[in-house]
């Protein structure tokens, strides 16, 4: 081969050659493998979509002008795509209660309405009643131009008079779309939180059992196996039924008697803050689900650490005098991250299913906070009047769980080439 021939190769070919010659990093390989699994890619996009919905729930609320909590008993079980316009007497009733509740504000608004000639009532005291009967966008622009502290309340009132419900309304006349959007927050939030927390617990227990072996291993693995062999739902039902106030009350007493009054007061404050947000059912659920979902991770990690323990680089770091902590955290954890990731992804799907199951039984997320599970719980008694109420949350649970399962499967194939379907 002559020198001239090599020189005439195009720059493109050189670049191609270079890209072949440079070694790919682990994550580049995983990524290119992952892209082959079409269902997993679709799943990843779906998950991204739902996470975005969950994060931007308030923005969606603002954009649609409906919220997840306002009830409207006159418009229950509306089918999807229904537009609700309140009748004149409903509007006038509401403005009357507003005037009675805030007479001074109402008088000020009335004055401004008349001064700026925004409404032309027959009698001056009817100004607010005339305003409330205006078309929605006009009524809002009018109230925005006024100077009053009750602006938000009035805008909300007008918003409720005329609303569009993409997915209809539920048994209390609440907007199903907004409840589903906020339910996404709860369901995906609980799922991810539980999966991450149980990964941490499993990582700790699995690595302790695998690294130290002996009695520690026997005890921890017996515990893991016994917990794994239990029928999950009955156990979860029994634990979910306990009264959080009794447990935390006991905790406060315990802190009081053992660590003195300051510790008692401190615990009491924490307990109060847990109950103040109305979110105690979420904390309880996450805690309970964590208790029963770390076992598979622990077994996985134990197996991985058992085989890592025999490798030369561990021996090397031991010889160099590394502590057990350093060996486990610095040298072993990076090697188990890949299988852990798969297990966490699959765990999210399972946690969402269990959250939905418990909420469906009425023992999980408590109303009025919406979650897909408790929406199904409410809807199951109404399958004759409003079957669509039961379909929507169920379809969303299914979509999210199937996406996480596909994502986990795709990651598994990408990370561990031995399991690729051939």
């Amino acid at each position: 081969m002559s020198q001239a021939e090599t020189l005439t190769t195009t720059p493109q070919a050189t670049a191609d050659l270079k890209s072949i010659e440079t070694s790919q990093t682990f994550f580049q390989i995983v990524y290119s493998q992952f892209k082959e699994h079409k269902a997993a890619v679709v799943g990843a996009y779906l998950i991204l979509f739902f996470v975005l919905v969950a994060v931007f729930a308030p923005a969606i609320e603002w954009a649609t002008g409906t919220d997840s909590d306002s009830q409207n008993v006159f418009n229950r079980y509306k089918p999807p795509f229904s537009k609700i316009v309140a009748s004149q007497d409903v509007r006038e009733n509401q403005i009357q209660t507003f005037i009675q509740a805030n007479p001074t504000d109402a008088a000020a608004i009335q004055q401004q309405l008349l001064e700026k000639n925004l409404v032309q009532p027959i009698r001056p005291e009817d100004a607010l009643y005339d305003w409330v009967n205006l078309e929605k966008s006009k009524a809002i622009s009018v109230i925005q131009s006024l100077d009053t502290s009750k602006k938000d309340q009035l805008v909300k009132m007008v918003n409720n008079f005329q609303s569009f419900h993409l997915f209809g309304t539920d048994e209390l006349g609440r907007d199903v779309l907004m409840r589903l959007v906020y339910g996404t927050r709860v369901s995906i939030g609980v799922g991810i939180l539980v999966a991450l927390a149980s990964a941490v617990i499993g990582l700790i227990i699995g690595s302790l059992a695998g690294y130290y072996g002996g009695v520690i291993d026997t005890i921890l693995m017996r515990l893991t196996d016994s917990l794994l062999s239990l029928p999950t739902l009955p156990v979860l039902v029994v634990i979910a039924a306990i009264d959080l106030k009794k447990v935390l009350g006991g905790l406060v007493e315990f802190a009081n008697s053992w660590f003195g009054a300051t510790a008692g007061n401190f615990t009491q404050e924490i307990v109060n803050s847990i109950f103040s947000g109305g979110k105690e059912s979420i904390y309880k659920l996450v805690f309970i689900l964590c208790l029963f979902s770390w076992m598979t991770v622990a077994r996985l990690i134990r197996g991985a650490i058992l085989s890592l323990r025999e490798r030369e680089f561990i021996l090397a770091s031991k010889t160099l005098g590394a502590t057990d902590f350093t060996i486990i955290v610095r040298h072993m954890f990076p090697n188990v991250i890949a299988p852990l990731l798969v297990s966490v992804t699959l765990g999210v799907g399972d946690s969402i299913l269990f959250e939905a199951a418990l909420s469906y039984l009425g023992l999980g997320i408590q109303p009025p906070m919406p979650s897909w599970g408790n929406m199904l719980f409410n809807a199951q008694e109404l399958i004759y009047q409003a079957p669509f109420l039961a379909i929507l949350p169920g379809v969303l649970i299914f979509l999210v769980v199937v996406s996480f399962n596909f994502l986990g499967d795709g990651l598994q194939d990408a990370i561990d080439p031995k399991t690729v379907r051939r």
Binding site: V238, A357, L376
Partner: protein
Amino acid sequence: MTTYILRRLVQTLMVIVILSYVCFSLMTLMPGDPVELMISANPKITQEDVVRLRAFYGLDQPTYVRYFNWVGEIAKGDLGYSRTYRIPVTEMMGPSLKATFVLSMGSLIFSILIGVPLGIYCALKPNSKMDYVVNMFNFGGISLPSFFLGIVLIIIFSVGLGWLPAGGYQTTGMHYDSWFAEMLDKAKYLILPILSLSVQSIGRFSRFARSAMVEAMRNDFIRTARAKGMSEKVVIWKHGFRNALIPLITIVAISFSSVFSGALITESLFAYPGVGRLIYTSIIGNDFNVAMISFIISIAMVLVMNLVADLLYGAADPRISYK
């Protein structure tokens, strides 16, 4: 072998005892003990009455004392009364255990009959169109919440078409002329619950059957068997399937636990009078005696099934010896 079984039995028993204690103390943490319920039922009750009642029921004692009293009663054969139904717990357990057993076993057998052949078929024809479709179905099945499927089935078959009853155990007030008519009537009520309970395990069995069979067919002895000129039927069933059976038995046996646990939600949805529903309703209704007994019996059932599974495992794989 005998020592192995004995050791496992003792272990199982220990788990049950520990769990029963944990469960007992959890029950004390649930809202509303018997006396609190009496207080809410009777506004005229005085403080002295409350104290006297608490002492009478032994509620003023610490949890472990109450636990041992309770175990003592059980050892004497007294399981206590149900507060909701006003009948002895012993009378309630038999029928509900039977009902749950029929439901779980029916579902397990149904899912094995559907799932395993599907998985084997896909393993023998990997990457075919059928394989792809079944794989999609499996993922769908694993991810489908059984209660949602149950609601959809009710909407379609009971509300929409009116073919099958939406829930229950048998037609009320029915007089059966023969055992066959009785069975037929009860079977009608079982179809929807079994369907909704099975979908998840069908998906799981089919996936495991596929991977176990693919694994088994890769062995060298399969090639040897083919080289010897054996018929494909013998190669697949006698050499391949026999080896795929070992991991399959494990997963089927482990599934008994999950089918049993799923039965709780299916029974509640279809108002089917099994143990799962009994656990749920008794816990919701503060019926502690029933809740404790049904919980412990169902856990014991699952643990014993796991033990049976381990023994079966040895029967299927002669390489495994019990120490």
